[in-house]
Subunit: 391 residues, 2 copies
Amino acid sequence: MAVFEKTEYQERINNTKHSMAEQGVDMVITSDPANMNYLTGYDGWSFYVPQVVIISLDKEEPIWIGREMDVNGAKCTAFLNQNNLWGYPDDYVQTPLKHPMNFVADIIKKEGWTRKVIGIDMDTYYFSPRAFYVLKKELQNSKFVDTSLLVNWVRLIKSESEILLMKQAGKIAEKVMHTALDKIHSGVRECDAVASVFQAQVSGLSEFGGDYPAIVPMMPTGEKTSAPHLTWTDEPYKTDQAVNLELAGCRNRYHCPIARTAFIGKNPPAKLENIAKVTVEGINLTLDGIKPGLHCEDVEMIWRQFLAKHGLEKKSRIGYSMGLNYPPDWGEHTASLRPNDKTVLQPGMTFHMILGMWMESYGFECSESFYVTENGVETFAKFDRKLFIRD
Amino acid sequence: MAVFEKTEYQERINNTKHSMAEQGVDMVITSDPANMNYLTGYDGWSFYVPQVVIISLDKEEPIWIGREMDVNGAKCTAFLNQNNLWGYPDDYVQTPLKHPMNFVADIIKKEGWTRKVIGIDMDTYYFSPRAFYVLKKELQNSKFVDTSLLVNWVRLIKSESEILLMKQAGKIAEKVMHTALDKIHSGVRECDAVASVFQAQVSGLSEFGGDYPAIVPMMPTGEKTSAPHLTWTDEPYKTDQAVNLELAGCRNRYHCPIARTAFIGKNPPAKLENIAKVTVEGINLTLDGIKPGLHCEDVEMIWRQFLAKHGLEKKSRIGYSMGLNYPPDWGEHTASLRPNDKTVLQPGMTFHMILGMWMESYGFECSESFYVTENGVETFAKFDRKLFIRD
């Protein structure tokens, strides 16, 4: 059963068609698993083989095309009529002889869509150059247009039901962060602490279970805090080191990322305590300043001006739109809280804002996932903003 | 520090260069995180932004190019000289204005490689059509050749050190499967059982920790067993249902997948017990029949002929090469145990072989990950092959 009401999917499809008409395309083919889920409800770990959803202006429902063995999964999770589900046989899988996009082109021909203007996302995950060339070769009367992020932009403003799921993800994120802080102690292996975090993420709460976040937990310490995407080792955490905790809760593929910093040991350096205080003041101030009608770049400016008062400068992205997603990223690749981003904030937009300040040997970071309300913002997780001390 | 000795990376690079010379290319650019790791040691969850390793016949070491903030991670994990690490600034990230492949092309120009024959994998994860077009546009004097899976084929035969890591992954897989069987009982929520499996995967053993497998645990039950890639829900497992457990252990990105089937309840249907017996007999027979010198297709034929004796037919892939990998797949997309695959089995090749038989309402499956030895095979995990009964 699809997670949302059929009417919600229909609204999403209508919004997508509206955007397609504006961009002058007759149909879009999307391989992004988050877009596929958004438009149909389809949810499965099958994106390691090519699969697409096609939306055409002249057809009410989307078409789902995937591997034959995944059609049952589509029946279980997508709201679509069964005659809009197509599965390619296994002899299309991982072979130089033919490609799943040959099958997709055949369906497009069967639907009589060979002379259409087709929108494609040229820079998305799970859509290869070969996939594109096969489509172009098979559909020589079609015109292909790069409509990168078209559906991602439709996803920007969340519905009430989506916000509800992200609030549930927020509750899971609170439990996950508590678990991480409970487990991190001197002598505990990194892998054991991270294992408990995974357990908390997937188990979720007694009222509702958790889902796998699109990014694994990051809990670097020592010199690895300057290498933000290294995963854990089986070395133990050590005393007198800071640990950056970049975690998330996930519910039905909707995320609430959250970051905090802990210091292992009784006596954190005064410098670390000081930058923690400054950063928390800055994040509070920035969150308080967000209102509908501001541009995304204005939010970054609040933080930058605050830093300048402390004699510091850092011109970079401090946040990004996020929500529904799959590995390898929970970000939506649309609006960013960064200089020159003119996106106007509106109620229902959802961001992960992550603020950090870095010294020579450690840093302090703190983040919030929030949605824009009529008057300001509300965070999905409620969790103290401070430096946590663990001995 | 890189996981393997520098000499091992050098041998891998030499094997790759040998294959490049055979295929008539001067250099290869690979974006596959498993290939990047294989050739340099680089390991991080940074593949959600474009990154590449370049091997050129006229340069001893590979070049690593990634996001600036990930250069420190490359310093920590890759064996490369620091002057072979290049980081692109953050204003290349997720913007229509420029692309990380513009930066990659600039490095290629700086190296004087603008008139080379460049091998590209046209059908890999994490390399988009836009990435390819940018390279083509920036390097108009280069000739691009599709050398799909070139490095993947070099990965086919594992070294002793790789086999050692896969044996460790096998030990973790044993613990993971024990954990799953312990947790699965009537009334336990799927998410809680899967959470314990994640915990076991990442924690690993007291001697060495675990890593995140490239595919999340699959533990479907009831009608979902016919939809193999649906992930868990928060519904409880029910009595008198079979559960298919498709799990893995992972150590330093090397995998040991393992599948078993459990029945929840005191009295499994005689039909299920019967297909379990037949399938286990078949997997034992097939494993016993594998020897160096056979073709991959011969292995599938052993299983198919066994099935035929029981009046059954199923002509499909029953296994595939696997080892080092990242999400979304642990398979290497090279040799498959399937009809028409003429790959000759050699010692050091590693496969996941998964055999299953399906009735109307449930199925029985059982798999082994193994390496080919001088005389036959050895499985990485040692685990009973049978139908497990859980009440």
